[in-house]
Symmetry: C2
Subunit: 217 residues, 2 copies
């Protein structure tokens, strides 16, 4: 499948590399063409990955992974162009963290809305699926790194078929279907995004970001 990865940071690099590894074609999108990190990503994968603007990547992709920083995600997707996103799945793994006032970050949107909802609202013809935003990116693509792979991740979104497609991608990353909990429609993004302050507190208390939560009961 042709997949666009928006964002050239650690998350975009990690997700893009895994998508290549499991057999997809990947184009990494960024604000302007010739982005150094995107070119380094493509070089690392010996030309198997493409690079382009957000618009070029979105036009290429059948699915778009939003790995941009949450504060800039809606703007990045607007640069991609509504026509290039129409009817496509946007896998939103970003969190609306605002670091501008120092640590700990606050959320730019929460409680009565969420980044997932804001993206769906801005692009009503796209199919937004919130996924993977509750874990460090190393575990996103390698769940077996901890607890034998037995821990929980969440998806939500308004389109059932889109969620099934994303679930298959997560399985190809190593997630067991039993550990992927469908929380419901895109409003459920609020819960997974508002979990971030607790995630950051656990990280701070344990000095270990390579953790996750497992639902037991």
């Amino acid at each position: 499948m042709k997949i666009a990865v928006f964002g050239t940071g650690m998350v975009g690099d990690t997700i893009g590399s895994k998508l290549l590894e499991v057999g997809h074609s990947v184009m990494m999108g960024s604000r302007a063409s010739g982005n150094e990190k995107a070119l380094a990503f493509a070089a690392k994968h010996e030309g198997k990955a493409g690079t382009g603007t957000f618009a070029e990547a979105a036009a290429f992709g059948e699915i778009i992974f939003n790995c941009t920083a949450g504060v800039g995600s809606v703007e990045a997707l607007k640069m991609a162009g509504e026509e290039n996103l129409k009817g496509k799945i946007i896998v939103d793994i970003a969190n609306p963290l605002d670091f501008s006032n120092g640590m700990p970050p606050t959320l730019t949107v929460c409680n009565t809305t969420s980044l997932g909802e804001e993206i769906q609202h801005a692009f009503p013809k796209a199919k937004v699926v919130k996924a993977l935003n509750t874990i460090w990116c190393g575990i996103m693509v390698n769940p077996s790194m901890i607890n034998g792979g037995d821990h929980s991740t969440f998806i939500c979104g308004n389109d059932a078929t889109a969620k099934e497609e994303v679930k298959e991608i997560l399985k190809s990353f190593g997630w067991s279907g039993n550990n992927i909990l469908d929380l419901g429609d895109i409003t459920k993004s609020r819960g997974t995004e508002m979990y971030l302050p607790l995630w950051l507190s656990i990280y701070g208390a344990t000095n270990n970001g390579a953790f996750n939560i497992k639902i037991v009961g």
Copy 2:
């Protein structure tokens, strides 16, 4: 130890009953004396538990468990009187959930503050310890109900000694010390309270409130 339990709902009843079971003296506090639910609680425990106003209960207690609905917690504590709370531990297990606009509830405070912080701010001479607010009350007092008792709970607060005292109470409830994570100061209440929307989503998706999360990593 003499403990005041604020709140006559299911949480107050559950916590109060467990505190009696493990050997404490309990007075259940409510807005007005003669509260029917408080009297029923005392009757159920054959006179071993007392009842009174918030002020009477706070004057009685060496520790106060806040089991009121979060939207009314600060007001309830104000009714107790600052002098009756001075120097005492307030174990805040409430969540600032606002059900007035229907389901799902939103939080009355979040992101840049929290109920735990608001209580600490209103009563600077009390020692607020946030605890147990991330789980259904049945599991709060009976962690072995699920996963052999092996799952995570959180405490936070500004006073290290107060947190140790609360940790001992949690251990007497059946919690393993290894599963009680101290997140830091009272600002960390934000994380545990902002987890509630995810808790509610998991509950909604699984139809099971008798669950918890276990940190793995």
